[in-house]
Symmetry: C2
Subunit: 452 residues, 2 copies
């Protein structure tokens, strides 16, 4: 009975909840750009006030960068920590937006504005669930810590030190993270596998200056040729990555997960069709869902050298540059793979060429502990709200926070989110469906009801 | 006797000749930049006045772009046409110049300023030779046409139409072109082989927009991977170009030229060492001079795609771009090679990728007719001036004008120039040695004496 009262309150107060979200969206908290430092601070203040109004003991906590917001409520019972981030991506190119990204509005069932989905709309689903619960019950459902970051879109430089310094305060029974999406924009999903990331930028140098290809073409080493020959070897003809030992630690899917994924009947034709493709281009002996969730990859993210302006310049360039990243799964170790990659490139350099690496870093994959009892409870709660069995899914991208909770706080994490594939996060015209927001709030009320 | 009087006059009037060159160098006739249109016009006017003062019937001749300067003198005897260009390259990056590029000066034996070598200093060597001849003899040595272009550094858009429209007026017994250099900065040289050029820019497309490599990495075709695999195949392991039929029409060197080139004892270690290299990287069964003069090449001049800014963006880009050019020799046909190249790329595209070509164009190699009697006369004249046997050399770059004279006017061309390897043409701090200028003027006096 009490849950249904909370859900009813959520339904009737949706306009007010939406207005509050629009207020937060008006604050241009772009963390990567120092010009918006004051706005990041203002977003943190706004959230502290919001949480205090719900009875949380809430504070803005300084870091060398943008502040954290930490709030506590309750002293007994199960203890959950909720994580979200209040900072947003830059908005350029501004001319591709149909409206001012920081003048948000509800348009035809979507909430439009920078951060609507990533992550202000998502984090507010949890806060609004708390508000509805409080208004029905007079108290929150148990012991809740809310932990909001302001640097997620700029590499989270303060996150690990802050977690280490405040480990005792932040440790809970489980972390709830709301920064992911529905499966195929309709099936509620709990992410249980997150790919890790290893990355390296490098420069191959040949001549000590740009040369004229008329004078030197045919005798001088061209770093662009060296670069293409090396990168062309990164995959074999079946799509496998050729680095020695790259697949060490890659595990096959457990049967239960494999069966669940088969049941999802992933529509890869539509997934690829939406971006103008039709043929899965990865490892030829793997299913499409494996390709994007549970198999490692190597991708060239950027490549440049020589002349790229209008017309022709018959230059033989002195340098070629590339940015390459690897998505990692299971127990692949970035600290083992990256040095192998560097040596693999050095081994392929011809005489007269040298290579220099920059920005070499990695983080391992995250594997959630689905035998933790919270997972099954949350899965049932989500299934009830959405009327579709919720799925344990993978996530091709890297959400390092989940691994940090495990590593630095010894706490399992559960990733539940309500974003849709067309939310345009990090792009112009970002939006969050009113359905995502509304049913997201209801979902958290149901999850809290089961967990607490 | 009369030649030595001319040479003496050249020696004694060098300061005045240098001052005249400095006057011309002060005019910023950058043809590619519309802001300097008036200056190009002014440079043409300056040359018309200079030539008129020598008794030439000289005129600025309009084109849809910058004007030509055409001047005639004499009505009988052998008829030579002299070609040079009065326009210059842009000067950026300006901060790398040690002085204002258009405030030229003589510094420690070099004339410093934009255009000093390319091509104002070189074209003035011929005009000053005419001046000295005139001052000694009262007339010019024979029938001379001077043809100066103002668009050489911006693709010569008006050149072919102008030559076609004025073919009867411009046709002479031979064309003299002064836009090349000494061999190894010391041996006088007549260029008898010019490599041609075929070029193509192309874009390989995969997804219809940039993708997130977390979401799509491992399933979506990455155009940068496609690009690197294709370009890596452009050469085999011995440095040969792999395009079918690419070597059709490539001829072996005549024995006489091969022997002369051997006698030049080309110091390739120093040639490569100056640019930080040590190993000839081209076709492994060819000599270094063949690699740069008489063998065709394929070079990637530019390559770009994905993210190239600071830090990392794990983008899976929708497009990859390249600019590729081929240096052509002997009878290689650019109109045969370019379609083969396009098809060769199409044949290597995987499913879901497409390619689009831009800026596809070519011109064949130029082979000078060294059995024309003017060649041996000029070779002897140059050998006498420099005290070193002059050489018939190749030129790795493309100087299309020589081919145009053959094609459109049925006239052989002889390329003689006095530039040095360190003249920094097209770069900051361009210079022309006073020695190049002085002995260049003397060289032309001797060549005219032999030819006329």
């Amino acid at each position: 009975m009490s849950l249904s009262a909370v859900l009813d309150t959520i339904d009737t107060s949706l306009p007010q909840a939406t207005d509050r979200l629009l207020d937060l969206l008006r604050i241009p908290s772009i963390s990567t750009d120092p010009a918006f430092k004051g706005d990041c601070d203002r977003a943190a203040d706004w959230l502290v006030a919001e949480l205090a109004s719900l009875g949380f003991e809430a504070a803005k906590r300084p870091t060398p960068g943008h502040p954290m917001v930490v709030a506590h409520a309750g002293t007994t019972g199960p203890h959950v920590l909720f994580y979200g981030h209040y900072d947003v991506q830059p908005v350029d190119p501004l001319n591709l937006w149909d409206r001012d990204p920081f003048d948000p509005a509800v348009e035809d069932g979507v909430i439009r504005g920078r951060g609507a989905s990533d992550d202000k709309g998502q984090l507010m689903t949890f806060i609004e669930a708390c508000r509805a619960w409080k208004s029905v019950h007079g108290t929150l459902p148990g012991r809740i810590t809310i932990f909001l970051e302001g640097e997620e879109e700029s590499g989270s430089p303060s996150l690990i030190p802050f977690m280490q310094e405040n480990a005792a305060e932040l440790k809970a029974d489980i972390a709830l993270i709301c920064d992911t999406g529905l499966f195929e924009s309709k099936t509620p999903a709990i992410v249980t596998m997150l790919r890790g990331l290893a990355k390296a930028e490098f420069t191959i140098r040949g001549p000590n200056k740009d040369l004229h290809s008329g004078m030197f073409g045919g005798i001088a080493a061209n770093p662009l040729h060296v670069m293409t020959r090396i990168l062309a070897e990164l995959h074999d003809d079946t799509g496998r990555v050729t680095l020695p030992g790259f697949y060490d630690g890659v595990e096959e899917l457990p049967d239960t997960i494999r069966q669940q994924w088969q049941a999802l009947a992933f529509d890869h034709a539509s997934f690829l069709g939406d971006v103008g493709l039709s043929v899965p281009a990865g490892e030829q002996d793997r299913t499409p869902l494996e390709m994007i969730w549970s198999r490692p990859t190597a991708e060239v993210n950027g490549l440049w050298g020589g002349y790229n302006g209008a017309g022709f310049k018959t230059v033989l360039p002195s340098e070629a540059h590339a940015k390459v990243s690897f998505r990692l799964v299971s127990k692949q170790d970035p600290d083992a793979i990256l040095p192998v990659f560097e040596q693999w490139i050095r081994d392929r350099l011809p005489a007269d060429c040298s290579v220099e690496f920059h920005d070499v870093a990695g983080s391992p994959a995250g594997i959630m502990q689905i035998d933790h009892p919270a997972f099954e409870k949350a899965r049932i709660a989500l299934s009830e709200e959405w009327g579709i069995p919720a799925a344990y899914v993978g996530c091709g991208g890297s959400i390092p926070i989940a691994g940090y909770f495990q590593t630095y706080l010894g706490m399992d994490a559960m990733l539940i989110g309500f974003g849709k594939d067309d939310d345009q996060i990090h792009s112009p015209n970002e939006k969050y469906d009113v359905e995502s927001f509304h049913k997201g709030i209801r979902s958290w009320a149901r999850v809290l009801d089961k967990l607490m």
